[in-house]
């Protein structure tokens, strides 16, 4: 739905957000054991009980778990018996939030619980992500996620839009910002390291880790009852580009730009942007596509370079942006989530607090 269509529809806000501490491994916990504390956290923040929730939607991936229908086990954590109104996306939780938002727009529910989680530690995430590629022409070559991001980085360098020191600067700024984020996996000064796939060094890549996040959405007056300063979703849209990497201009992100336009980002300035840019060069692409200048605080949480729990990192961007509005640190924030190689799919949301 575009901003034009959303006008006049019900107001929907993020009213609570919680996340785990993101760590290299959480092997002592199953997915549901890892997830439950954040589910309980958002419910406590709002005073809601599981039975009060109108709609539940989650995001996760069987390929991370190495098991079919893995999300069904996590459902134990939301009290799924007796049956609840529930759905799942095999994507980042940001897309689950999009589905929950449309559900609330229909008026079928007044509150929604959105959660997502990913344990990357049991497998090799670079190999796992190859399985989302075109199975005919690309996946048989097993190009891993870092390799594809490195092709994008080199294209940007060749285009004169960045260089390796500038990319190191993105990494350093992100991890410095994360010093105030107790949940982050990588904080403070992190060595930029050796090449993983040139031109990307370890510092240009996100940490591999496990984590979960949860958000509560509420509509209209319900949101005001549950949260002192709701983060109203003024627009949200997601777009996708061709799966063929060689068809795309990797130095640009027309899908992120179009999603931002449809979400209403360009109508007024934003003060904060939480970008889901797992690789340093991707922040360069997104800043340009989303027209973010130096007046915008980008990734005060540290972003995906500080913690990148796959399937939850995009939902965390929305949660972090909303939490800044809850705390009064932002009035109009942009939240972005991505999926697929080289920013193939992009979701953009605009969140606003009531005027102060």
């Amino acid at each position: 739905m575009t901003r034009e269509q959303a006008r006049g529809a019900r107001e929907i806000a993020v009213v609570a957000f919680a996340q785990t501490d993101h760590r290299r491994t959480s092997e002592e916990h199953s997915e549901v054991e890892m997830l439950m504390p954040v589910l309980h956290d958002v419910l406590e923040q709002t005073g809601l009980k599981t039975a009060d929730i109108g709609f539940t939607c989650s995001g996760s991936s069987d390929y991370l778990a190495g098991r079919a229908f893995s999300f069904t086990l996590a459902l134990d954590g939301v009290g799924a018996w007796p049956p609840i109104s529930e759905s799942h996306v095999e994507m980042d939780g940001a897309w689950a939030l999009y589905e929950a938002w449309t559900k609330l727009l229909t008026g079928d529910a007044d509150t929604a619980l959105v959660y997502s989680y990913g344990k990357s530690s049991p497998g090799s995430v670079r190999d796992v992500l190859t399985r989302q590629l075109d199975p005919y022409y690309v996946a048989p070559l097993w190009p891993d996620s870092v390799a594809l991001a490195a092709l994008q980085a080199q294209a940007l360098i060749d285009a004169g839009e960045t260089d390796e020191p500038a990319l190191a600067g993105v990494a350093a700024r992100s991890r410095a910002a994360a010093t105030t984020n107790s949940h982050a996996q990588l904080r403070g000064s992190v060595p930029h390291g050796e090449y993983v796939v040139r031109p990307l060094r370890t510092g240009d890549c996100p940490p591999i880790g496990d984590g979960a996040a949860a958000v509560v959405l509420a509509a209209g007056e319900r949101a005001r009852q549950l949260c002192a300063r709701p983060a109203w979703i003024r627009g949200i849209d997601h777009r996708i580009e061709a799966h063929g990497l060689g068809v795309r201009d990797l130095t640009d992100s027309p899908s992120a730009r179009l999603a931002a336009e449809k979400a209403g980002v360009f109508e007024q300035p934003v003060d904060t942007a939480e970008l889901h840019a797992p690789f340093t060069a991707q922040e360069v692409v997104l800043r340009k596509a989303l027209r973010l200048d130096d007046r915008v605080t980008v990734n005060p949480s540290g972003g995906a370079l500080a913690a990148n729990p796959i399937m939850a990192a995009g939902l965390i961007r929305i949660g972090e942006a909303a939490a800044r509005i809850h705390r009064g640190e932002s009035d109009r924030a942009l939240a972005h989530a991505t999926s697929g190689p080289c920013l193939q799919q992009n979701l953009v949301a605009v969140l606003e607090g009531d005027p102060r």
Binding site: E27, E28, H29, S30, E31, V32, E33, M36, L39, H40, T50, Y63, G66, L73, L75, D76, G77, V78, G79, A80, W81, P82, P122, G123, S124, R126, D127, V128, R131, P135, Y136, Y137, V138, A139, P140, L141, W142, P143, D144, A147, L148, A150, L151, Q152, A153, Q154, A155, D158, Y195, V197, R198, P199, L200, A242, G244, L245, G246, V247, L250
Partner: protein, 313 residues
Amino acid sequence: MPEVLKAPLVVEFPFTRSLGPVQSAFLTGLRERVVLGVRTGDGRTLVPPVEYDPVTAEELRDLVAVASTGTVTTWAWNHEPRRGQPLAAPFAWVLVRLDGADTALLHALDAPGPDAVRTGMRVRIRWAEERSGAITDIACFEPYDGENTEITYHAGEFEGPVTGIVAHARLDYTYSPGRAQSAYITALSGRRTVGERCPSCRKVYVPPRGACPTCGVATAEQVEVGPRGTVTTFCIVNIKAKNLDIEVPYVYAHIALDGADLALHGRIGGIPYDQVRMGLRVEPVWTEGARYPDHYRPTGEPDADYETYKELL
């Protein structure tokens, strides 16, 4: 906390995928050392070819041949090749725009080192010696400073076209079952069955998964259940599973162990399959060295009253 259990888990599957007319022509062409692209309505040539225009979604069928030489549009040096990748020695990932094409193909470039690679360099296809109609029929690209190759016309029709590929996928994991299931498995090694009691509704779940699916809260209080139990419902299996040495027909049942509020499932033995019934009292049978009961057999007790297990079906 007991030691975290871990075990290797390999997920492996040979995906059999059928090809559409354009993919079939392209991959068959590779087998014959011919590279085909597809022409879009606005006159662009897409290589590798797709069946629908990525911009207009228009159906594409107009196949054209392109050259086996081309230009690198971007690259990345891969000094540590991973399993399944095209070359075992360090190589460059490249996007190559073949002469005659307007888009680029992803593949590997065999080069001595990163200093030998740059955007804009000329390369050509090195064909695999044995070709079957797959993207790996291109072994890799190699640097090329010769003349541009002539593009010869090709209609995209071949003898014995490839109509499908088998895409092997293998992913390796180290599976860890988490706290609750680890405790369950550890107890089983002592031939004990433990569940966990929900602090809210007091139900005992077995096997425990660490959460109560009714209340959505964590469970932690361990409760030993069984060893005896009651068959709550069952089915008769008549088809022999591959690699299974159990003779059919046999009975697979839901068994509510004494003290448990959830039935688990297991095979029933020691009784003819057509005499198994709801309410039958059973006990586990362990075999030497096994990590879980091989099957359950009748205890000889009178059948349980329906009222005692009707909530556990």
